[in-house]
């Protein structure tokens, strides 16, 4: 692995503070990903925000690993403007009833990003102020970016306007 010294410093500190919660550190082409346990996500984000000035939340999104355990992954893409560093934090959650604690109280930007993850994967963010679907209507019952959702969609899953205009009686 080829982790820059600035990243290494942060990871060492996190490992010291949360020895049981830092599960995995990976590096791909210079991007550093830290997998943490799902219960500690809020505390770790708070610490990164306070101590290392990761004040800019770029993105939150989910992925579907399609495994029987820890199926969904939520990835946080955060940037420290002071040190010009980018860091990725990951958590994994179960297929049945996936829950992650919200980070909207740290970054307001997390609001829509978490809604987007909920919309696409059905991951529930506990403590979110307004957890509604963001792209799809509330009437839609499926989570389209899950791997079992067919590419062509589910016929009849969404009510569409009739193509013939109403006749005035």
């Amino acid at each position: 692995m080829n982790i820059s010294s600035a990243h290494q410093k942060i990871i060492d500190d996190l490992k010291q503070q949360y020895p049981d919660d830092i599960l995995e550190v990976t590096e791909n082409r210079g991007d550093v990903l830290v997998r943490v346990s799902v219960d500690a996500i809020h505390n770790i984000c708070q610490r990164l925000y306070d101590e290392y000035r990761f004040i800019y939340l770029v993105d939150i999104f989910g992925t579907d690993r399609f495994t029987s355990e820890d199926r969904f992954e939520v990835i946080y893409n955060i940037v420290s403007l002071r040190d010009q560093l980018r860091l990725f934090i990951k958590v994994r959650c179960e297929e049945e009833d996936p829950h992650v604690q919200t980070v909207t109280d740290i970054w307001k930007a997390a609001n829509w990003q978490e809604r987007q993850t909920y919309d696409m994967f059905g991951v529930i963010f506990d403590g979110h102020p307004d957890l509604r679907r963001v792209f799809l209507p509330e009437d839609f019952e499926y989570y389209p970016l899950r791997k079992e959702f067919p590419l062509l969609g589910v016929p009849g899953s969404i009510e569409l306007p009739s193509t013939t205009p109403d006749t005035e009686d």
């Binding site: 791909n28 991007d31 770029v58 209507p137 509330e138 970016l145």
Partner: protein
């Protein structure tokens, strides 16, 4: 009575009932202190629904405003009317096949979107891009930036009342379209960038067209600046509207020129240079006010800087290959395909299987698109199709900030604010 019933049935939502109910419910729940007017004889309290089909919302953005007289008490944005499931489509396409779909995300700057995807794939698959191709990409990106900003300028000034300006910016965009037509063979969604390089080299004709246009456009910009910077109506419409501080802007996740208008010089071309942006000389325009006028100044200055970058690119560009010469990673040139067996096999393999990044690899690459940070996060499972491709779209982040900015503004400023933030629904809805 019959008429009343008929009217009531007309007012009931006929589609997405749950969705409508949830929006109105969240409008109530957003703030804890809701003043309820028991008797409101003048009906100053009302809920106004703008869009999704509304000329000033730049696409299909729906804004639901709760008004107290002319003041916006709270608001909710309803997006997703242009949701096409681009990320789902990406999982079923090879990287190169997905390229034309990126044109349709932020459809005002297709070239930037192509480059964003290409750079992300090149990063994950570790593909070297020849220098000349990178300069061509930079020229394309900057032309796309100007084209996008021109549309923003035209519509924003039109939202503020000056309709004729729209025609002037569109005249320049028309010239840009002609350039793109010569550049990559399409006027609008050009898909000229390829993984590992670009599709074809700039012809001398195109180079001359761009150079001539740059000279003319500089004069045009000076004239526009004269016209708008001393325009009293434009000033009064935009000054101190939608003001946001740097701290708020960062926290709410503003991106691109909107963030720079609050005073934070966050530009990926400087912070994390891709292509050859570290070899050209340009400035990142910022303003401190954070209002709509500051956003206007930032974008106007950015266009001037883009012209500088284009000129420097032409000076620094050397002759050379325009695509990596590795048949396992990039398409072979058409000469090879038509005249050699290997070329045809490679072309077929690239179309069929495509680039295969290592299994288990995941990485992110972002570029500074006209609207802000446009990033692609790719997870690979070792096949030619991405396991997961996530688009971080700048308009989505900016629209979220719009919801925050609109609170407490006047209803007449809504259209100006939407115009000033420059969202593109194709980008935010994915």
């Amino acid at each position: 009575m019959e008429l009343e019933n008929k009217l009531a049935s007309k007012l009931q939502p006929t589609f997405f009932k749950k969705h409508q109910e949830a929006i109105y419910k969240s409008l109530e729940d957003k703030h804890t202190t809701v003043e309820v007017y028991e008797d409101d004889p003048l009906a100053t309290h009302m809920v106004l629904n703008m869009g999704p089909q509304h000329p000033a919302t730049h696409g299909v953005l729906r804004v639901i405003l709760e008004l107290d007289g002319e003041k916006i008490v709270k608001n909710k944005l309803d997006i997703g009317y242009l949701h096409r499931g681009i990320e789902k489509i990406a999982e079923n396409k090879t990287y190169q096949e997905f390229m034309p779909y990126t044109d349709r995300t932020d459809y005002l700057s297709p070239y930037s979107n192509n480059v964003a995807l290409c750079t992300a794939v090149e990063k994950i698959a570790d593909i070297e891009v020849p220098e000349r191709a990178q300069y061509i990409r930079m020229i394309g990106c900057e032309l796309a930036r100007i084209s996008s900003h021109l549309l923003w300028l035209g519509t924003m000034v039109m939202d503020a009342g000056a309709v004729s300006f729209f025609i002037w910016t569109f005249r320049e965009r028309e010239k840009l379209y002609d350039i793109f037509d010569n550049f990559g063979g399409h006027r609008f969604t050009i898909s000229h960038s390829r993984i590992g390089g670009v599709a074809n080299d700039l012809t001398p004709d195109t180079v001359k067209m761009i150079k001539d246009w740059v000279v003319n456009f500089k004069k045009e910009l000076v004239g526009w600046n004269k016209f708008l910077n001393k325009n009293r109506i434009f000033f009064d419409r935009n000054k101190d509207i939608g003001t946001i501080t740097a701290e708020e802007g960062i926290n709410i996740g503003l991106s691109g020129p909107n963030l720079r208008a609050t005073g934070i010089a966050y530009d990926l071309r400087k912070i994390d240079p891709y292509c050859k942006y570290d070899e050209v000389d340009f400035e990142v325009p910022t303003r401190l006010e954070g209002d709509n006028l500051a956003r206007y100044y930032c974008r106007m200055e950015e266009m001037t800087q883009s012209l500088r970058i284009i000129e420097q690119c032409f000076d620094k560009m050397k002759k050379g290959p325009i695509r990596a010469n590795n048949a396992k990673q990039t398409y072979p040139s058409k000469d090879e395909v038509y005249y050699s067996m290997e070329g045809m096999i490679h072309d077929f393999m690239m179309t069929d299987t495509g680039v295969c990044p290592p299994a288990g690899m995941e990485c992110y690459h972002a570029i500074e698109a006209p609207k802000g940070e446009l990033g692609y996060y790719i997870q690979s499972d070792g096949t030619g199709h991405p396991w997961r491709l996530e688009i971080r779209s700048p308009s989505f982040a900016n629209l979220q900030a719009l919801e925050y900015i609109l609170d407490g503004e006047m209803v007449a400023d809504t259209v100006v604010l939407i115009g000033g933030l420059d969202p593109v629904m194709g980008d935010s809805d994915k």
